[in-house]
Each structure stands twice: as C-alpha cells, then as structure tokens.
Symmetry: C2
Subunit: 399 residues, 2 copies
C-alpha cells in the first residue's frame, strides 16, 4: 500500500484472517524492492514470471485480465550509469515478439525539468505528469484542456509544455534539447538528457537505436520512477488477413526506481534499480489472433517420440520401451490403450506435431530393433534397440 | 468450496470485492477439474507449476508455508485401466530427488472394502478413513482408541480393521488379499485389488516395483479420491553430516479422482482423472539442508560466458560483443562497470560458476580474435570473432 499512487484502489484486499490484513500482489516490482530491503541485498539481477492481481475491469479479447502473469527483469545495485538501463531496453527488443511496436523511452527528470521551465509549481508535477501520459491516446487539445481545467495549470504553462511533450526522435533531438536555452539551465533536465545521450550511445552499440524512440510525452503512471522510463505499445497491425487492427495497449514497460528499496529499509539505505515488466497474456492474445488468421498449425507438445505398436498384445513391450526412453531423458508419450490401431497412433502424431514414432512390432522384437518413423517424411528406419536413444536425439535436433 | 472436506477451513477467503466472493486457490487439482468441465475437455495430460494457499500454521524450517508452489501432473480421459496411473507413479520416481522416500500406494476401494467387511457402517467410512491416515505418525493403539472413542466404531470392528491396515508389501500381499475369504467377497475391494495387481505388473515393466510399497494404512485426507492413492513420505535421513534427521512429511501425493469433473459439469458428465502433486518447497528445503551439510558449491546462474576486458576503455567493445552473443542466443553477462579489473571479472566467474570468459583486449581486437578462457582449467585460446558463438556452444556442452 502507498506505493502505487492512484492505482492503489486496484489492489485486491484479503479478509482479515486471524489478525492479519493481507492483499494480493499488484505487481512484481514493489515485492522485489521489499525483498531486497528485508534481506539486505545490494546487488542482484533476476527475472521473475508470476501472477499479479488488479481489481480492474477485464477485457478478455484484448488480453486484459484481473489475474494475469507478468514477466519482470530487474537489475539492482550501484553501477556505472546507463549500462543496466541499456540492457533492460535490449531485453525488451529480444525475443522478436514486439516487432509491431517501437519502444518509447523518456526520463522522469527530463519531464520534471520541462514542467519546471514551463512554470509549473512543484506540487503539480505529479498531476501534470499523469495528464501528459494520456497523449498516446488523445490529441494534444484534450490533454491541454485537462491541464488547464482539472489540474489548474495556467494556459501559458500548458502551451509551453505542449511545445516540448509533442517532440520525439533520437540522438539529434537529445543534442538539440541539450542546447535548448531554457531546458539546459535546469539541473534535473540536464542530468536526464546527459544520461539519455549515454543511453542512446549504448543502444547504438547494441544495434537497436533506430528501433527506439525518445518521446517526451511518455510519463508512465506509477509514482516510484526516478529516471529513465520506457514502454512498448502495440501499433495498429497492418495485416491483410486481419480486418480489425489489434490494439492491446502497453505490452512492456519499466524504468529506473532508485528510491523504492530505501522506502522499505529501516535506515532508508538506497539500492538503485532498473527493470522491465512484460505482460505475457497480452502478447499471447496477439500471437493467438495472428495464428488464427494465418491458419498455421501450432505444435502443442514438446514430446519427441510416440511409442507405438504395430500389432495387438504389445502393451507390455510399449511400457518397457517408454520406460527406457523416460529413464534416458527422452520426452516420450504413448496412447493409454491396450491395443491401439497403428493408424490412430500415427494420426495422433499428425494432430499434435510429435515428429517421431518408435514402433514396436513382433518381427522387430525378434530382430532386436525398433522401427523409427519420421512423421514429416513418412520415412522408416530400423534402429537397433541399444542405439535408439542416440538416434532419437540426433533426429530431434534435425526436426 | 465443498471439495476439500475437513480442510475447507484452510481456504483463504477474499473480501467481497464489488459483489463477488472470491478465495485463493487451495490446490491445483480442483481448479483443473473445473477447467475441464467448463471447457468440455474430455482428454488431457498436463503439468502445472503454480502457487497455492493454505490458512495454516507455517513451519519455515520444514518447508511448510502458507503460500507455496505445487507441481501437478494429471492425466484426464477414458483409458484402459491403470496405464495412466502407472505413469503417475513412474513420474514421482523420476527426477531422483525422492531417493529417501519409498512411495506408498493404496486404493480407496480396498480401504472401503476393508471397512465394510470389518462391520463399519457406510456413513462412518470417511471418519474411519481419516483416522487410519494417522498410522504413519502415531502407533496403532492410539489410532484404535480414536476409532472407538471419537469415531464411535465398535472395539471388534476396530480390531478387525487393525489386522488389515497394518499390512504392507508388494505383489505377494495383493495375491494373498485376493484370496482373503472376507475381502474377496467384497465387490469394491476385489475391483481395487484386481487393479492394484495390474498396477504392480505395469510398475514391474517400468522397473520400479521394488521401490514402491502397497500399504493398507495409506488413506489421504481429501474426499475426492475414488481409486488408487499414493504418497511419497520422507523417511528419516541417515547422514553422518546432519545430526537431526530431516522430517518434512509428505513431499508428493495423489491418486484417482473420477468424480470431481462431473461435480462441475451441469449435466454431471464424468471425466476420469489421475494425478500427482509435488510440494516443491519441501523438496528444496531438504536439498538446501543437504547442500549446507556437504558444503558443495551451487551454480546460481545459467550464464554460459562472461564478457570481460583486459584493459581500460573497452566498455564499448564489451557492449558490442555481448550484443552479438545475445542476438545469437548465448547466455552472456558482463560487469556493469566502465573499467572493471580483469581479476575482479575472473573472480566473479569463480563465485557464480560461469564456466567461460570471453576477454576483449587491444591486441586481440587488432587481430580479429577474442580470448576465450575456460574457468575450471584456466586454459586460454584465441578464437576468431566469427567462430566465437560456435566455440562457446561446443565448450558449454562439454562443461
């Protein structure tokens, strides 16, 4: 509680159970910070895939649930500037599933510097920030009226903010803002822009600068960010197979939170952290829609081989063989029938994408061999029993 | 609710949140059954590793928490008898971490048959069952007095039960009970014993009969079991390094639950299921105690290679190289310092168990090579930049 700003209302509270007031975890970042503080850890890199809970309105088709998985990657510790930050952005680009989105990056210090030089009083930085954050969904005019109306900024301040927060670009924009007569006079903004320049230099070395946009409208809702912030939002999908463009919002985001661990430490000792959260269900919902559109068949198992029989009364031989394969670490399956038909066994492999079939037959048993069938090519080879594990390993690496 | 018998009191309830009464999941079995029923799935094999919650007294040192992971493996569908059941027992034996325990197996039908032929009225089967279940912790005398006192069985019935439930053995015991003049007259018991015989035949083919004990005192607490039940309990550890014997109770258990899916289906359609749950934290707590006792060093990362530098001012070169390695799918790390000392980088590998170091140096850069150091042997070889990924893959598979 008290770490999520406005979003605190989305926390699921548990009933008082024997004197303890508990709640369901809202994200993986605050628990990570608490873990570091409670265990006095000053240096850690970890990933964590686990469920989090939001008391929110679900939107199933867009992959927005009340109970969902996050995959977090965080680097905690005192390090030289922007090296771990660049790694987080590289990780967001890895995997390749975010090819539709251009990750945006900004820095809370730059944003606060913008507010300061535009004449916003410091106590209005947070509300101004959450209004700016809406610029990816609504046009500037609406954002401006919310600033002046609801948030009580002066029209002049709002106009000045508008000149900055509609900017986006790369290294050349950073250079230009470093020369900006007003912004360059602000200590916070200067620090933020200096680090942003360093970050873009590192991203160039990582080969991903062209794919990441420095965007001054990016604000991120949560209170705990202190430096670099970033977010990968899905753009509209240009795909002839899908009529409706997919819009699932942010699929990955994060930033630097140097103050959060200190809030949990009795002596306030700080551990600087930077990290990224990826929303797995949202990515799955896109992948699923794409797969449905493409009618591609997805392999639903990791099974390497089906242990099958060519004739009746071979259940015992199948059980013996599958046991040998399991003991050797081969991923093997069999149909749970006493006397399955060979055709049904082969069909099962077609349906599930199992690439190999080890067929036990009476003649083969006499000869000390197993017939290995490659499902894709229908090729069949007799393999000596003692070489079967090795043969399956080689064939699997080829599949 | 209403699926866990006496244990229902251990469920964590959520506060009513907007008109919905929710609870935290107690296990993975009931949700699996509900999932099958709601999605009309009649055939499925899956594993699931996830958290469950018990409003219970935690015992940290024994790996008993209120929030903990279970790893479940279940097979659902109409199949020929005992084939999936045998696979579940084989899976419990796999992995090798349960070498201290001898899995016990029994069948609810045999137990109910025993109660019937001993003169227990049917409405007292469930309480009698939960009393029998205590036989692994307390001697027969105490179990007997609970039966006669609390549960209201006649002393004669209790004595007759005692003759059966203290039996344990293998195939020969099953054969003997199949000839038992009373038990062989009971339909349920006969069915259960017939299936138990089949199960032991399959376990023989799987090569694990000698390692599994048919134990008539095994009852398992939960109401939903309908056939075979099994449990792996840790025996006392005979280890000179550890003074106190480890006792963490049951680490894996399960059984057949043919009625549970039907309870969730509006038309009561049944999907027979058999499955096993493994308590991961309990196994971890044993492994940790053993590791502490043995003072073995554990590798805490999967990192294949550390990207290091031999001189100062090589941060950019390190970033370039690590980016290449990441893009090729190599698990690589670097220290987040501009100018780390080579000795510190090598020490980091010693501490974390990273087996390889790719060292960037001025001369090597000129020559188009990277120095690859094998941490264990301190051997160093110059590898051409374009062959580095392949070389790391080969070396990793050898480590």
């Amino acid at each position: 509680m008290g770490k999520y700003g406005e979003d605190t209302k989305l926390i699921y509270e548990l009933q008082d159970q024997g004197g303890e007031l508990l709640a369901l975890r809202y994200d993986l970042t605050v628990p990570f910070a608490r873990y570091l503080a409670m265990n006095k850890i000053t240096n850690m890199k970890r990933y964590h895939v686990a469920k989090v809970y939001r008391r929110d309105n679900p939107a199933m088709t867009r992959g927005r649930y009340r109970e969902f998985y996050q995959c977090d990657f965080d680097i905690a510790g005192h390090f030289d500037p922007m090296i771990p930050d660049a790694e987080c952005l590289k990780k967001v680009r890895l995997g390749g599933f975010l090819c539709l989105s251009v990750p945006q990056v900004n820095d809370r210090r730059i944003l606060n510097g913008v507010f300061a030089v535009c004449g916003v009083p410091e106590n209005k930085f947070v509300p101004a920030c959450s209004t700016v954050d809406k610029l990816d969904k609504v046009p500037w005019d609406e954002v401006r009226s919310e600033m002046v109306g609801e948030k009580g900024l002066s029209p002049e301040a709002a106009d000045r903010i508008g000149e900055y927060v509609q900017l986006h670009g790369g290294l050349e924009l950073i250079e230009r803002l470093l020369q900006d007569p007003k912004l360059s006079q602000n200590k916070l903004a200067k620090e933020g822009l200096g680090d942003m320049k360093l970050l873009f230099e590192y991203l160039t070395l990582f080969g991903i600068t062209g794919k990441i946009s420095f965007d001054l409208s990016l604000a991120r809702g949560l209170d705990y960010y202190t430096g670099v912030i970033f977010e990968a939002v899905l753009l509209q999908q240009e795909n002839e197979h899908v009529e409706e463009p997919v819009s699932v919002g942010s699929v990955a985001g994060g930033g630097r939170y140097d103050g959060l661990v200190g809030m949990f430490d009795p002596k306030g000792r700080k551990v600087p952290c930077v990290g990224v959260s990826i929303g797995i269900e949202r990515i799955f919902s896109i992948l699923e829609q794409r797969l449905e559109a493409s009618e591609e068949k997805v392999r639903t198992t990791e099974t390497q081989v089906l242990v099958a029989s060519a004739q009746k009364k071979l259940l015992e031989e199948r059980l013996k063989l599958i046991s040998e394969l399991w003991d050797a670490g081969i991923k093997a399956e069999m149909l749970y029938k006493k006397n399955p038909k060979l055709l049904n066994q082969l069909q099962y492999c077609e349906d599930t994408g199992i690439p190999l079939v080890a067929i036990v037959g009476e003649q083969e048993l006499k000869d000390g061999v197993v017939k290995l069938r490659i499902v894709a090519t229908r090729e069949e080879v007799n393999v000596r029993r003692e070489s079967l594990v090795e043969e399956i390993r080689i064939r699997t690496s080829q599949c």
